[in-house]
């Protein structure tokens, strides 16, 4: 093939690109629809969270549209890979608002990306529904009226964690604690918020070690041996995703889990861990996550999990339920207001959001806290037990302890002091 051919190829390719962008510019929801601009990572370490979220969004959209949509509007979602790059996500969010004329911004797994996109939402007065990222800063320190989050944040997980540890102290009389978490804002927030909540709930303890391995650390051996030397009664972990799997796998040969209680309340109980480790996963680990495939034992949760499994061939990670909840939150608000364009009324509607979600146990309905725009939900913490109902996992969580939603939210003085900073 000659060079000329390739020159022609490149020219044609670029021309196609320009035509494509020109064509895409005039997309704007001309039809009667609610247009949602979603940003999820589709590749890399967080790719599974993005893929599960997209599948759950499509599931919720199909459910709603098959019933005729909402207030006469069909839901339509645009997806773009956020690449977990804040600058790129900011550009896409602007494109969604200015070119595609979306009614809502949606999604995001990384808190760093969420914090950047929330600024775009604020500047262009466009509602942003956060579905997975967990940084408390978004609803406390950096609160802005156009942002709403529909999954628990790290503060709520750590409050539930503190309450569990309080109960555990009564049962087992533990005295010392060590913490290990990834050395970036997510890990540090968890540790700060756990300490705050332990103090808030009057738990007495002694810290014998705090460890900050880098995110995506391949080898945890040095940390594991140091923790073994410290001999804490409880080891609290703040990893997520593959880091949890790597740490647990590497700690098993050292017998770490026989010598101390392993406690991982924010993302440890994600189905991703159970499916990745199978029989290797030790029994008796105390874990939690923002959603569990086998809790609560309600019709809604079973339907959600089974439908997701039927659709994708795998069981959902917690990210999926957040995304599913986000679409239903939008449908709720549009139904209340009657159209997707009146932002002020949509904000009011979302502030009064009350919605039954798969993760809600009988007798509880998730609701939005108007002061923070953070959804209020119960949290269940469980222990790894044998369970082969969700293959390839052979362990799931059981022996649940459920914590009241209102006990998990940050008190007003905490919010005020953080907003002053």
């Amino acid at each position: 093939m000659s060079k000329k051919f390739f020159l022609v190829f490149v020219t044609v390719f670029l021309a196609v690109c320009f035509i494509a962008v020109a064509g895409s510019q005039s997309y704007a929801g001309a039809k009667k629809e609610v247009l949602i601009g979603a940003l999820y990572p589709m590749t890399g370490r967080a790719g599974l969270y993005g893929k599960d979220s997209v599948a759950a969004v499509e599931m919720a959209v199909n459910e709603i549209n098959s019933k005729g949509g909402v207030a006469g509007y069909k839901l339509n979602v645009l997806f773009t890979d956020s690449k977990v790059k804040p600058a790129y996500a900011v550009r896409i969010a602007k494109r969604y608002i200015l070119e595609d004329k979306v009614n809502f911004l949606f999604g995001v797994v990384s808190s760093g990306v969420g914090l950047a996109v929330t600024q775009v939402s604020k500047k262009y007065k466009k509602i942003f529904i956060g579905t997975d990222h967990a940084s408390t800063r978004l609803t406390v320190d950096n609160f802005q009226p156009y942002y709403f989050r529909v999954s628990n944040n790290t503060f709520q997980s750590m409050a539930a964690g503190a309450l569990y540890l309080k109960d555990l102290q009564k049962e087992k009389g533990w005295k010392t604690i060590a913490f290990i978490g990834p050395d970036y804002a997510y890990g540090h927030s968890q540790w700060d918020e756990l300490q705050y909540n332990l103090k808030r709930y009057g738990v007495k303890y002694k810290v014998v070690g705090v460890y900050w391995p880098k995110i995506y650390t391949p080898d945890y051996t040095s940390y594991i041996t140091s923790i073994m030397k410290d001999k804490p009664d409880v080891l609290v972990a703040g990893f997520w995703g593959g880091d949890t799997v790597a740490f647990i796998k590497q700690a098993i040969p050292y017998g770490l889990f026989k010598k101390m209680i392993y406690f991982h309340p924010d993302a440890g109980g994600n189905y991703e861990l159970m499916s990745a480790m199978g029989d290797e996963l030790p029994l008796g680990l105390i874990l939690s996550a923002r959603h569990h495939d086998n809790w609560p034992d309600t019709k809604l949760n079973k339907e959600f999990v089974n439908k997701f499994h039927k659709l994708t061939g795998r069981y959902p990670s917690y990210a999926a339920e957040g995304a599913y909840a986000g679409i239903y939150a939008i449908a709720y608000a549009v139904k209340k207001v009657g159209n997707p364009n009146d932002t002020a009324k949509l904000i009011k509607a979302l502030e009064g959001l009350k919605i039954k979600l798969p993760e809600d146990p009988e007798g509880f309905t998730s609701y939005m806290r108007p002061e923070t725009h953070q959804i209020v939900q119960v949290q269940a913490i469980g222990v790894t037990v044998p369970n082969k109902n969700y293959p390839p996992a052979t362990r799931m969580l059981g022996k649940w302890k459920v914590y009241k939603a209102e006990d998990l939210i940050p008190p007003m003085d905490y919010i005020k002091s953080h907003r002053k900073k």
Partner: protein
């Protein structure tokens, strides 16, 4: 003036006029924002190419200066207010002179791959500091809410502000490259030993171009902070240095405007293809493969060759 040179000047003037008229054409606000990003990336790529294309020094650490400029602007605006946006750009550019002299004195002692590795090491050190210094830099969460003063508050106003600074920078860089100093740098790229035999102090020239490149990289970083309204440690990461190398190679390192064009092409591919598939980087990979194997002079380099062949 030769006809070819006159043609070039008319062509460049036409592009500048087009850039100035862009906001008045029937384009959306988003196109103005996108073009703003393109010209700022273009400036960064041009600044990088002063080292690589002009002087033959492959730095894998220019993101350090780009990120430094962004963080000086971001931190000053957050702590002292939007008024400090413009002064912070100048403060960043001034501070980066001191930093680049300090680092340059160490890095230019080495050459080739060792120079590249050392620049990478320093940049990663900077990234690590920004990533971990939560209380000051916000760690991996970055800093948000960086807005220029009200008179630059609209995308159009900020675009003109960026455009003027970028054009001024391009003019200065072009003068610099075409000066006797720039000529010596090009000689350095080809044969540094011969240049030293001619009585020139090679290290001084290398340090000089390292500092100039850092200054304009810092300016690009500051301008980008204003476009996005937020900054994050990724701006100092090696991937950002890699991106700017990619832009330069794609556009053509041997052509003055090659990296600028490469920046535009990458941003557009990312934007257009990225809207349809998450495999956009695969497409960039294929294009890079084609460029490196078949058009090693880059898009603009091959275009110039074609022009010469067709005698236009």
């Amino acid at each position: 003036m030769s006809l070819k040179r006159l043609n070039n000047r008319i062509f460049l003037a036409g592009i500048v006029v087009l850039l100035f008229l862009l906001p008045f054409m029937k384009v959306s606000e988003y196109v103005v924002i996108l073009m703003n990003e393109i010209i700022v990336w273009g400036l960064f790529a041009l600044a990088f190419n002063l080292l690589f294309g002009v002087s033959g020094m492959l730095s894998f650490g220019q993101a350090l200066f780009y990120g430094f400029g962004a963080y000086v602007t971001g931190l000053m605006v957050i702590h002292f207010g939007a008024f400090w946006f413009i002064p912070s750009i100048l403060i960043g550019m001034t501070a980066v002179i001191a930093i680049s002299i300090l680092l340059g004195l160490i890095t230019i002692r080495l050459s080739g791959v060792y120079f590249t590795m050392l620049t990478l090491a320093f940049a990663q050190l900077g990234w690590e500091i920004v990533f971990k210094w939560y209380s000051f830099t916000g760690g991996d969460d970055g800093i948000q809410g960086i807005y220029p003063p009200d008179f630059l508050g609209t995308p159009k106003a900020y675009y003109y502000f960026s455009l003027i600074l970028v054009l001024l920078s391009v003019w200065i860089i072009r003068k610099f490259v075409n000066s006797p100093y720039g000529l010596t740098l090009r000689c350095l790229r080809q044969n540094p030993i011969r240049v030293s035999f001619l009585g020139r102090k090679v290290k001084n020239y290398q340090l000089g171009v390292y500092v100039v490149s850092a200054i304009f990289s810092s300016l690009a970083g500051s301008l980008m902070a204003g476009i996005n309204g937020s900054i994050h440690p990724g701006m100092l990461n090696w991937t950002t240095s890699g991106e700017v190398i990619l832009m330069s190679v794609l556009g053509g390192i041997g052509q003055f405007f090659g990296p600028f064009l490469g920046g535009g092409v990458i941003v557009l591919i990312e934007d257009i293809i990225g809207a349809y598939t998450e495999y956009w980087s695969f497409i960039i990979g294929i294009i890079m493969l084609l460029i490196v194997l078949l058009f090693p002079k880059g898009v603009l380099g091959e275009f110039s060759k074609l022009r010469r062949r067709l005698k236009i």
